[in-house]
């Protein structure tokens, strides 16, 4: 359990450091807020599809640096989830943990 909590914390920090990059290129309005409730995509989101793709790529590269494993977040598996893993920061962090765990089990 504590191991998983640790994993999730590190996943969150990978997301937040990608936020820094996205925010540095956004205007003064519509900056991403570092909160688990922040909506990333869909109704109420502050980013468009191009920014979402940029964000996902930068999270992927942060995760591979942090965890030493290369992962792909936007793939067919993500698409086939019942609810979108990119809806909020929390769902994305959960999804990162899931992908890493599945990778370990091989």
């Amino acid at each position: 359990m504590s191991l998983n909590n640790d994993l999730r914390e590190r996943a969150l920090s990978a997301i937040y450091s990608a936020f820094d990059l996205t925010n540095s290129e956004k205007g003064s309005e519509g900056k991403l807020v570092k909160s688990e409730e922040s909506i990333l995509f869909g109704h109420g989101a502050n980013i468009d599809s191009f920014e979402l793709v940029g964000l996902v790529l930068s999270v992927e590269s942060n995760v591979s640096r942090e965890f030493g494993v290369a992962i792909t977040l936007a793939d067919e598996k993500a698409m086939s989830q019942r609810s979108s893993p990119f809806r909020t920061v929390a769902t994305m962090a959960d999804y990162i943990v899931q992908v890493i765990e599945e990778g370990k089990r091989g």
Partner: protein, 457 residues
Amino acid sequence: MSISFLKDVVLEKAHAEAIVWHGQSYDYSWLSARIIYWSGRVTSAGIRPGDVVLLQGDFSPNSIALLLALIEQSCICVPLNADRFHERNILAKSALANWIIEIDREDTATIGPRQEEQGHELYDLLRRNGRPGIVFFTSGSTGVSKAVVHDLQKLLRKYAVKRHDLRTLAFLLFDHIGGFDTLFYVLSNGSALVIPETRTPEAVCLAIEQHKVEVLPVSPSFLTLLLLSDSYVGHNLRTLKYITYGAEVMTAATLAKCAAVFPGVKMLQKYGTTEIGTMRSKSEKEDSVWVKIGGEGYEWRVVDGILQVKSDSAMLGYLNAPSPFTPDGWFITGDCVERSGDSLRILGRKSDIINVGGQKVYPAEVEGVICEMDGVADVTVYGEKNQILGSIVCAKVKLSRPESEEEFSRRLRGFCKDRLERFKIPLKVNLSDDVQFDARSKKARRLLSEKADVGNA
């Protein structure tokens, strides 16, 4: 007259809704009166039959009425989307435009002349026959837009046959042959064209719900976005009967999810190119990527795995590029296809075009811009598959002086911002020492794309 079918529609359905824009409704009698008004305005401004008129705007009541008035006046129309202002001068020059009409967000039109001395044999042909024409732009392999000239009398012939009266969303663009097809399908059947506030998943769902849209013509990558955004959850989309899609390869995963999310909605793949127009087509089954194409006036064949199409309503030719037709009149589409009996499966473009959300990106154009940056020795631009956008643009760059990848990526985005449309700016940048100085070949790009796809598998 090319748009005479509209006169019957106006007689039959004068008070039926023709256009819904910003929540307001415009009926066929309004449209008919507006066409007469604009015919008078353009004539008094000095626009004559055979003149080339660039019409910049988005779908709106007046842009539609103006387009129809120009067709009625036998002009040669060049529709251009409102957001392509930075390309307007170049494209007006390519199209040899005599006039520019700009329609702003308030739907007010400004008519202005443009000095143009040059003529063109394709235009002469239209003028001699007293035919209206239309010009669409499609990207060329060198990044220069090719100007595709159609004889509208021929292109509009298929709309004379009455089909289904269905409320349809204007999702495809005003200057795209798909958008043109949506408009004329709707008008010829006396249906309503619903114009969304923007083309985001949320705005599209809202427009479907508020205006009881029955047909949603989209690009496959928009469907992917729509599914990913969950925007469909909070809206009542039960009026929807058909989703038509084209322009890109649809993944089986997206198609299956669509069938689950929109039960009872028929998924129809359309096939068309700017050069030959939109063909009638029928998906084998709702969740099938196999499609039967054709319809009256169209024939097709597959040569070396590439689809070729012959049609009476094909374009007359390009204004600024050599003919893409075979000597016996077949148009080489450049689309790789698989054939099974009389059905086809579209596999993708033969060339290196990167298809980002239905928008074409030619690597050479992006490479040209990046090469202008300080410290760049060489660059190869290639596409990588992406579940959200279909493909993304990637750049492999060799620097002539040390710089971190993060710092360079930031500088690249800043540099490209005012020089390239947003979808053309690379989302992924890799620094490398081994970019070849002669690497700007198709082969090298394809290798990079293949490597990326293997990495993602």
